[in-house]
């Protein structure tokens, strides 16, 4: 009896998720099957160029991120030098900058009227800015800055799990340092490196903010889809969306394939190699200096935002550093209801969508892990799908699916209502919330829930007093990631926002258009501070 009810709930959840994450993509695929649109896509060189650009930019981002992140991980995991701990904490700083905020921080810092360009211009007495921050180089710079963290964190985690005795065994077998590295360390790190590569590739492929702001004439598929859609060529936009989705899926499958199985899990845990102090003073000083220099580079975008947010409107013209600093921009944001509105919008939409995603993930955890319903594989796949597809793809798919009224086909007009954007946030949050909460559920011993039942606790009391408290850390981690993602979202918002739901990122963009750099920076600072606060709450055990 009970078992059948679980199956029904499982089926209901699977259908709900299918409607939310699969159905819109299928509608896009159906709409893309137009001969004219397909012909247009195939014949236009611009389309192929954008697709190719998306692919090579993503691969180059992986290479750059690995080049920065992996050596750093070795430095911080294997060597001891002054300031290692403090620097190690700073090194995850890019994580608290939502993509769009990071991009505008780079604009303020390295853009043609940014601090660095101004300083050089003044120092060298140039007539105009020494460079323009545009095109592939600019995009790759932002990607390298924001994505090396994946390689850094995953490689460090992989190194921490290496077994000291394994390296000693290799030494005892008379392997030299290089040989040990090539034959022992690298193969064992493969899953971590492949995982980081996958994460970077998918993020770079879906990246929208950097190409949107810095792309100029250089189009990636994400920005190409957006401009095609804005120009009204919907059928072609569908074809482009589908093409990008296909590249994402193929990339995902290929990279998953290289990951291989995790050998360290099979062998069990030893003790991680102890950190070696760097002996030679010159090398130690060099490592320390390089570390601090790097930390300053990491921190510069944050500091830039803070500084620009203190510059009143039209007081900073040609000087290297702004002559006037005041809190007037903050006062304006908080005193003018029209400017406060986006802040409130983002907060309520992020809260509601996070709550919804967490509820769905909890239900999925219960059905998949506890009840082991027949459709559990489907539920898990549907939860993961939004991660595998770029944000632009989902935003366009949702706009298409819910742009017409066909109640019999389960399609309603949600475009232009306040519902659609939060719904998109829910979809984007499902993978992080699902992964964290399902993982938490898997580690939770079902006997504890039975013990509660045998002590007279009903289903809800058990949920409130046993399951939720024990899921606490997983719940906090999943919810904080989902919240931060929704709070700083730009990709879905730029496609789906209405005047009533305009979120912070959109307000930043319109402030930039009005040349109100200070106000834009205020929003950026607020987003950065909120993200950092929420993430630190989520990471607490």
């Amino acid at each position: 009896m009970n078992g059948r009810r679980g199956q029904v709930f499982g089926l209901a959840l699977a259908l709900l998720l299918a409607w939310l994450v699969v159905y819109p993509i299928l509608i896009v695929a159906g709409d893309a099957a137009h001969a004219d649109a397909l012909r247009a896509f195939v014949s236009r060189p611009g389309e192929w160029a954008a697709l190719w650009a998306s692919l090579w930019i993503s691969l180059a981002s992986v290479a750059l991120a690995a080049l920065i992140g992996v050596p750093l991980a070795f430095l911080f995991e294997w060597f001891e030098f002054p300031g290692r701990k403090a620097l190690g904490a700073l090194i995850a700083l890019p994580a608290v900058l939502p993509p769009f905020v990071g991009v505008i921080a780079f604009l303020f810092l390295y853009g043609e009227s940014g601090f660095v360009a101004r300083a050089l211009q003044h120092a060298l007495g140039l007539a105009r800015a020494p460079w323009r921050l545009q095109g592939a180089g600019a995009i790759l710079l932002v990607h390298a800055y924001s994505m090396y963290v994946y390689f850094y964190l995953l490689t460090r985690a992989g190194l921490a799990r290496l077994d000291q005795s394994m390296l000693e065994a290799a030494q005892a077998l008379r392997a030299g340092r290089g040989r040990i590295f090539r034959r022992v360390v690298l193969p064992l790190l493969r899953p971590a490196l492949a995982g980081a590569a996958l994460l970077t590739f998918m993020t770079a492929l879906g990246s929208f903010s950097a190409p949107y702001v810095f792309g100029g004439g250089f189009r990636l598929m994400t920005t190409q889809i957006y401009s095609t859609k804005v120009n009204g060529d919907l059928a072609l936009a569908m074809v482009e969306t589908l093409a990008l989705a296909l590249v994402a899926v193929v990339g995902l499958v290929l990279l998953r394939h290289t990951q291989g199985e995790d050998l360290l899990v099979a062998l069990g845990k030893g003790t991680a190699p102890r950190r070696r102090p760097i002996e030679r003073p010159a090398v130690r000083a060099l490592a320390t200096a390089a570390g601090w220099l790097f930390a300053v580079l990491l921190l510069l975008p944050h500091l830039t935002l803070l500084l620009v947010s203190l510059v009143p409107y039209a007081t900073w013209t040609t000087e290297t550093l702004p002559p006037v600093l005041s809190l007037v921009n903050y006062r304006r944001v908080f005193s003018e209801p029209e400017r406060l509105r986006p802040l409130l919008n983002s907060f309520w939409m992020a809260s509601v969508s996070t709550a919804a995603a967490v509820v769905v993930a909890l239900a999925a955890g219960w059905l998949v892990v506890r009840r082991r319903v027949a459709v559990r594989r489907w539920i898990e796949s549907f939860l993961e799908l939004p991660w595998a597809l770029p944000g632009t793809v989902f935003a366009v798919a949702l706009a298409t699916a819910f742009g017409v009224s066909k109640p019999l086909a389960l399609r309603w007009v949600l475009v232009g209502t306040v519902v659609l954007l939060p719904l998109a946030y829910v979809v984007r949050s499902l993978p992080v919330a699902g992964r964290a909460i399902l993982g938490g559920y898997r580690q939770l011993d079902p006997v504890l829930e039975e013990a509660a039942a045998s002590l007279g606790a009903g289903r809800w009391v058990t949920l409130r007093r046993v399951t939720l408290p024990l899921l606490g850390p997983a719940l906090a981690a999943g919810a904080s990631l989902a919240f931060v993602g929704a709070l700083g979202d730009f990709v879905s918002s730029v496609v789906l926002y209405t005047y009533d739901t305009r979120p912070i990122a959109i307000e930043i963009m319109s402030s930039l258009r009005l040349n109100e750099l200070g106000v834009a920076a205020v929003f950026g600072v607020l987003l950065m501070v909120c993200s950092a606060a929420v993430l630190s709450i989520g990471a607490r055990r």
């Binding site: 009896m1 009970n2 013990a451 039942a453 045998s454 007279g456 606790a457 009903g458 024990l470």
Partner: protein, 330 residues
Amino acid sequence: MSGFLRMAGLTKRWAHDVAVGPVTLDISRGEIVALLGPSGSGKTTLLRLLAGFETPDAGGITVAGDDVTTVPPARRRCGMVFQHYALFPHLDVGENVAFGILGGGSREAGAVQAKVAEVLALVDLAGFERRKVQELSGGQQQRVALARALAPEPLVLLLDEPLSNLDPALRERTRRELRALIKRVGITTLFVTHEQEEAFDLGDRIAVLSRGLVEQVGTADELYEQPASLFVATFVGRANVLRGALARAFGGRDGQVLVVRPERLRFADAGLPGTVRERRYTGAAAFYLVESDAGERFEVLADPVAARVGERVYVEAVRAITFSEPRADG
């Protein structure tokens, strides 16, 4: 004998060849019954049926005259001690013990605290309220689990392998303490074990389970001296199972199987001839593995100096338990 806890035709099927029951068993008020059986015999399933974690396919359960077959676990008033204790790691000892008192209805905080203190004192853990459960030893955790199960004053106490997680040195003492405590509380108790010694020490009566069916219910003496089946005879206590010519040599007839306990065989001047192949010294006595001339082996418990390895001996049976040769299963 009036059954306080009654199982009538209780049946649970998993697959067509994996089933428990039908089990019919009556347990008197205040009695301790052991469910003894090898792994896979269905004893844990039976316990989970009683606790309400599984629903039976047929049959019924009554507690104190009330049919509880379809009552959910939360309202069954069965206290359960889980094999790994299942203490809540996010709550301290006092909160663990109070969990069921609060869950059963609203009481004043003072009354709850008093009850917690009372049951903790009962298990000899007075003053442990604010300890973290992770800091306790295995034996202390077991007693907290017991206190937590007893705190809501259940009608029946269920224990799943209560001593299997303790180290052997601690087990024997804990067994005696556990029995004394249950008897002091006077609660009707059913516990699951796969160890005969534990069942004998702890249970007033023992129900032997095999392949989901109760083979025999009785006191330790009854099971040992008058086993109802060949399975009970061999599972409870050490036994030589003798067939054919060897059975006839000890007085059996054709088609009969003899079960002879090692201590019921003895070396004599006449009897079945054989050779001592191994000797295992246990202190007060020694087990001798004897091989008959036909090459069949059996065990004799005798004085440590009764024979040497390689010695030619004659063996006679003091008492044998007779079964007719089973038709299909052993």
